[in-house]
């Protein structure tokens, strides 16, 4: 996939950062919004949309997780809504970023955005810390309304058909049950195993002996009631522990 990286990215960021400084003064009751979206044009569009609202202001519009965290740190604000595009890929993908923000900035409201996102992606975003999800294909009123709703830290789900709610709930429950069964280390081993690494490679990655990994894997199979690696990874993917989308 090729994104027109330059388009909108640099432009939007400079102008909006300047304004962020200018609006950082106390006494302002507006909520800051940080837009994290890999597609430049979409990012710029969302920025413009939000800027038109008197009670919201765009602090930054960025295209990846590192820039997002930098912008959040720079803003030094607590009343912030982070809009995070689920299309963010790579090692520091949307789920990573959401988890990171939830940990470091608990006062932030986090709204995940996607287009036609499947229930697994939505449930994953909610599980790692998003307060809600909005589909980028809804109309502007509904989009802005979802931002205001998530600001109250209400759970928001705007765009997906009602049938998705039940499916998302089921994924969340699966994930909960999986996490309740596995130790933190087993979860880590399973996550790495899902990348298709051999036991030896997993051992190297986690800095332990190969035997330790095979023992962990055996225990994981037992707990999940599966016969082997592929089935275990399938369970992990269905529950959203690992991302089942093909990486590019």
């Amino acid at each position: 996939m090729t994104h027109p990286e330059g388009l909108g990215a640099g432009m939007a960021e400079t102008s909006m950062t300047e304004r962020a400084e200018d609006l950082g003064k106390p006494g302002r009751r507006r909520w800051g919004v940080i837009v994290v979206e890999p597609l430049g044009v979409v990012r710029a569009g969302i920025g413009l949309l939000v800027e038109q609202e008197p009670d919201l202001e765009v602090l930054a519009a960025v295209g990846d997780a590192d820039d997002a965290l930098a912008a959040i740190t720079r803003s030094r604000r607590t009343r912030v809504i982070d809009l995070i595009g689920l299309d963010l890929q790579g090692e520091r993908d949307a789920a990573w970023l959401i988890r990171e923000i939830r940990h470091r900035h608990p006062t932030h409201a986090i709204l995940a955005m996607g287009s036609n996102a499947d229930p697994t992606a939505i449930s994953r975003a909610l599980f790692v810390g998003a307060d809600g999800f909005v589909d980028k294909e809804v109309d502007r009123e509904a989009f802005i309304a979802s931002i205001r709703q998530v600001r109250e830290r209400e759970t928001v789900l705007v765009g997906p058909p009602p049938v998705a709610i039940g499916m998302i709930a089921e994924k969340i429950e699966r994930r909960r049950d999986l996490d309740a069964q596995l130790t933190a280390r087993e979860r880590e081993v399973l996550t790495v195993a899902a990348e298709g690494l051999t036991a030896k490679q997993i051992a190297e990655r986690l800095g332990v002996r190969e035997r330790t990994i095979t023992t962990h894997l055996g225990r994981i199979y037992g707990k999940l009631g599966v016969g082997g690696r592929i089935a275990a990874v399938q369970v992990a993917a269905r529950s959203g522990l690992v991302d089942s989308r093909p990486r590019d």
Partner: protein, 219 residues
């Protein structure tokens, strides 16, 4: 499916007056071919022989959804429409997870049911906005619970879990020690660690939190 007309199946557990209203409303729907009423135990026979049935279930005084569950257990997956009342206290999310396609409020049934039946017949869902909201709120609660489980549960050792279960059974520390073959000093240390991990200060809090996290089941 759209070109085929549906059969509406009423279950004979509702009040006769309500059944009359539902019949009247169902007959006003365009995509309905016939309306039949059956007893609960005759349902499986009807569902087995009827193509694309829409089953209307009155749950306005049944928040447990037991009837929906039993329909679901028949494995024929009919399209289910629930009749609820204004203050229905059942779980909207639970109903949607059981495959319920639509919710209709009893006072509005005559007006809204025909349209709802037609939408359901076309494969759509008809969920009122407030019901959808309440389902999303429930979803939010289950997300919070799942996050808490995922943070806390992996840290709790199997031994600590056993201790928690025995605490919930009302055992004293000494009794727990005897059951597990360890000293009450050791039990005390397990309890201390358990409280810290659950971030609680008392036995009752530990039991409440443990059950909320699904670590123990309260009989």
């Amino acid at each position: 499916m759209p070109q085929e007309l549906s059969t509406v199946v009423l279950i004979r557990t509702m009040h006769p007056a309500l059944e009359g209203v539902v019949r009247l409303a169902a007959s006003a729907a365009e995509r309905v071919d016939r309306i039949i009423a059956v007893e609960q135990d005759g349902l499986s026979g009807v569902l087995g022989t009827t193509p694309t049935p829409i089953v209307i279930v009155d749950v306005h005084d049944d928040p447990t959804l037991s009837e929906v569950r039993s329909i679901r257990a028949l494995k024929t997956d009919p399209l289910v429409v629930l009749l609820i009342d204004a203050g229905w206290s059942g779980s909207a999310l639970g109903a949607m997870r059981l495959g319920v396609r639509a919710f209709v409020r009893v006072p509005d049934a005559l007006r809204t049911l025909p349209g709802v039946i037609d939408r359901v017949a076309l494969g759509e869902l008809a969920v009122p906005v407030d019901i959808e909201r309440s389902a999303v709120r429930e979803l939010g609660r289950s997300v919070h619970q799942a996050r808490a489980v995922s943070e806390v549960a992996p840290a709790i050792t199997p031994r600590e879990r056993q201790v928690l279960e025995l605490l919930a059974d009302g055992c004293t520390l000494r009794q727990i020690g005897r059951r597990l073959g360890i000293s009450s000093r050791t039990v005390e240390s397990h309890v201390g660690k358990l409280y810290r991990k659950l971030t609680v200060r008392s036995r009752i809090q530990a039991i409440t939190r443990g059950s909320a996290l699904g670590l123990i089941e309260l009989g």
